[in-house]
Symmetry: none
C-alpha cells in the first residue's frame, strides 16, 4: 500500500502553528510497519486542496487529509473533495440531530453555520466523531479515478483538532488499513524510553554489542529530547521478533536502570502506576518547577488515589507558612539550598501525611542567578519513610526546558527510590 | 512569485521528530507578505527527493529544500538534484579547505566522508555555512526546465540542522527573494486572540460587518484550539494598513472583551503583565487543574514578583488542612461545589496574604462523574479584595483538555476582573 498524507490549513502555511499531525500520524503508521510516502500541506483554498488530493490519488492508493471539515467559511475540504469526485452533498438527519444535541447538552444555542457539518458527500461513509462536531468521511474509490488502470483506493477526510482526529484515526482508519493491507513483511519494533543518560553516552554503550544483530535485520534509531532519550529498535526479515527480543535484552542488561518504559509509556504515568502498585502516597513541594510536577502527576487518570496535594511555594513567606521551612534556614542557606529543599520535602510529607514527598528549589532564570548559584542550579529532595535524599544537578537551560528537565529528574529519583524500597 | 517548500528526512516520515522547519520558514515568509503555496515532506530516498523537486518546479518558480546535505549515507539531496538537472559535481577547493580547517580548529581528524560536502553541482552558487560543515546550494534556473515556456526559477538546497538552516535562510535566501520578487502588493496582518467564545459564534458575530472590507482586500481566517480561537486578519491591495485597522476596530468593538491579546500574546503572560502593571498579587488553590494554573503562571519570567504560591489540594484532608475548607461544607455540598470553591479561594487569599486568589474544583474524569455532577463539571471562584465571584461552566472533555480549558477560563476570569477593578 502506498500512503500519502495531506494536512490542510492556512495557519500551517502561514507558520502560525506546528504541524503536529504529520508527526503523530506518521508515527502511528511507522509503529505498525507502514511508511508514509509523502506528506503535503496546503492552505484552506478549494483549488489547492483539490489539486493536492488529485495528485496524491494519482500516486497512492491510501490518502488521508486532515482539517477543513468545520463550520466556518475557511473549512473547504468537504466541498472541494465532493466537487473533485463529482459527488453531490446531502444533509444527514442523524448527524444534524447529533449537532443539535451537542449544543443543547452545553446549554448553548446552535449557530446556523454549524449545520453545514451535517452535509455528507453521496456514496461516502461517515466516521463518527464523539469528541467534536465535524464527522469524518471515508471514500471507498473502486476504481481510483486518477490512476489507469484504476485499482481500489481509500480516501479519508479527518477533522483538524487533535483530540478529534486522533481517536478517529485509531478507531476508524487503522483497523481498515490493517484489514485491507496487512503489513507485507513481518516487522517488529519497540522504543525503549530512557532518562538520566545522554544520547552519545547511550550510543557508545549499546551500539557495539548490538552490531552483530544489524545483519539479521535490526535497525537502531536514537531520538533525544530534553530530559530523555528514546532508543528505537526495529527488525525486518525472517525472524524479526527474536532479533528484536535479543536487542531489547542487550539494551536492558547494559542500561536497564535508565529505561523507565517502552513505546507510549510516559515517566509521570510510570510513577503513578508504581505508587498505585505499592500502595504509597505522594505530595510535592515545588518552588522553581511552579506546579509542573503536580500538573504532570494529575494528568494521569486515577492520580487522586495516590496523590494528596502540592504546595507551590514561590515566596519565602509561603515556604515558611505552608511548609514550616525555618527562617534561620532561609537566612543562613538561602531559599535555593540543600537545607531548604530538605525542609520543604519533610514539611510537605508531615503536613499532608504521605509516604513520599518531593521538595524542589532552584533558579529557572532568566533572572536570579549569581556566581555562586547560577541559573540552572537546583536541589531536589525526596523525603521517604526512612530518609531524605537530595540530588543537585545543574541544568543551564531556558526557563521552560529547565522546568521540564527538573520534573524529569525529580520523577526519576522517585521512580528509582520506589523500586529500591519495594519488594 | 510562487513559493514551495520541500523538507526531506526519514525521521520526519517515521514521525520521530516534529517538522519545525515548516513552521519557521513559513512564518518568516508570511511576516514579509509571502505565502508558501505548498509544503512537501519526503524521506531520504533519491528518487522521492528528485520527483518532489521536479513536480515543485513544474508549479512554482521559487523552491526551497531542507536536509540531506551532510556527509552520511542518508544524505542524498545534492546528488539527487544534480542528477535531476543533469549537472555534474566538481570538488570545490575553497570548501575543502574550509572543511579541513573546521576540523583542525577543533583538534579532530577529518573523517574521509566529510569531503563529500565539498562537491558542488556545475553552475550552482554556494551559500556559506558559518555554523556547520555542509554549504547550501543555489541554482539560478533560467529557463526553468520543467515549465514551458520556461521562466526563470530559483532552487535552494539548505541544510537540515536548525542552527545552520535559519541563518542561511535569513542571510542568503530572504535578501535574494526581496530583491528579485519584492512583495507585489503592500501587505498587513494581525492575529486577534480570543477566549470565552466559540468559533462559530465568533464568525456569526463578526463576519457580516467585515464583509464590506473583503472587496478592499481583507482576508479573514479562524483557528480554533481548546479554550481559545484566533482571528487572523490580513489585507493586501492599495491601503492594507487602513483596511486592517478598520477590521481590527470592528472586531474589537463587537467582541473586544473576548480579545486578550494580539499575535504572540499568550493568556498566561497577559495576566502576569496585568498583575505587574496594577501591582497586584496572586495565589491559586487548585483541585481538578492539579497545578496547571500555577505552572502556566510560573512559565512567565518575572512571575515571582506577583505570584506567591499555590495549594494543589487533591484530597479532602488537604482542602481542610491547607486551605481551611470546613468539614461541614464538604459534607453538605461536596468537594465539587460552589461553596467549596469559595472557601478554597478565600482560604488561599487569607493564608498567602494576596490580593487575588483563584479556587478551582471540578471533575476531570474519566472516573468520578455522577448524574448530578457529570465529568466536566467545574466551579471556579475568584476571591478579590471586595467579593468572591464564582463561575460554573461545563466542559465535557478528555482529562487533559478539560484541565487546559479550565485554566483558560480561570485566567480569563482573573483578566476581566483585573481590568474591571483597575483604573
Amino acid at each position: 500500500v502506498t500512503i500519502e498524507l495531506i494536512t490542510t490549513g492556512s495557519e500551517l502555511m502561514l507558520g502560525r502553528i506546528l504541524n503536529s499531525h504529520q508527526q503523530w500520524i506518521c508515527r502511528q503508521l511507522a509503529d505498525l510497519g507502514y511508511t508514509v510516502k509523502r506528506h503535503v500541506s496546503v492552505s484552506d483554498t478549494a483549488s489547492d486542496i483539490g489539486q493536492a488530493v488529485k495528485e496524491a490519488l494519482a500516486r497512492a492508493n491510501w490518502v488521508i487529509t486532515t482539517g477543513g471539515l468545520g463550520p466556518t467559511s475557511d473549512d473547504l475540504t468537504r466541498d472541494a473533495i465532493a466537487s473533485l469526485l463529482g459527488r453531490s452533498l446531502r444533509q444527514d438527519p442523524v448527524i444534524l440531530e447529533q449537532l443539535k444535541s451537542f449544543f443543547s447538552r452545553r446549554n448553548r444555542p446552535m449557530p446556523p453555520n454549524v449545520a453545514l457539518q451535517a452535509l455528507v458527500p453521496e456514496g461516502a461513509t461517515i466516521l463518527d466523531n464523539p469528541f467534536g462536531t465535524a464527522p469524518g468521511v471515508h471514500f471507498d474509490l473502486n476504481p481510483n479515478p486518477f490512476q489507469s488502470p484504476g485499482q481500489p483506493a481509500s480516501l479519508f477526510l479527518l477533522p483538524g483538532p487533535p483530540r478529534e482526529l486522533r481517536p478517529m484515526f485509531t478507531n476508524c482508519v487503522l483497523p481498515l488499513l490493517l484489514a485491507k493491507h496487512p503489513p507485507r513483511q513481518s516487522y517488529a519494533a519497540c522504543t525503549l524510553r530512557t532518562v538520566g543518560i545522554g544520547e552519545s553516552h547511550l550510543e557508545h554503550l549499546i551500539a557495539p554489542p548490538l552490531q552483530p544483530l544489524i545483519n539479521a535485520g535490526l535497525e537502531i534509531g536514537y531520538c533525544s529530547r530534553p530530559g530523555e532519550v528514546d532508543v528505537r529498535l526495529s527488525a525486518r526479515g525472517r525472524h524479526p521478533d527474536s532479533v528484536l527480543e535479543s536487542a531489547r535484552t542487550i539494551v536492558r542488561n547494559l542500561v536497564g536502570h535508565h529505561v523507565y518504559g517502552e513505546n507510549e509509556d510516559e515517566l509521570d504515568a510510570v510513577v503513578v502506576n508504581l505508587l498505585r502498585k505499592y500502595r504509597r502516597t505522594l505530595a510535592t513541594a515545588e518552588s522553581c518547577t511552579g506546579g509542573l510536577i503536580a500538573n504532570r502527576i494529575t494528568n494521569i487518570p486515577g492520580a487522586s488515589t495516590v496523590f494528596t496535594g502540592s504546595f507551590v511555594t514561590y515566596s519565602d513567606h509561603a515556604k515558611q507558612s505552608c511548609l514550616g521551612v525555618r527562617l534561620a534556614t532561609l537566612e543562613s542557606h538561602g531559599a535555593v539550598s540543600e537545607a531548604t529543599a530538605r525542609e520543604m520535602a519533610s514539611g510537605a510529607r508531615d503536613r499532608l501525611q504521605v509516604d513520599y514527598a518531593l521538595g524542589v528549589t532552584g533558579i529557572a532564570g532568566p533572572e536570579g542567578g549569581s556566581p555562586d548559584k547560577p541559573v540552572g542550579t537546583v536541589f531536589i529532595a525526596l523525603a521517604t519513610p526512612h530518609h531524605v535524599f537530595v540530588i543537585h544537578p545543574l541544568n543551564p537551560l531556558d526557563r521552560l526546558t529547565f522546568k521540564y528537565v527538573v520534573s524529569q529528574q525529580a520523577l526519576d529519583l522517585l521512580r528509582r527510590t520506589l523500586l529500591a524500597d519495594s519488594p
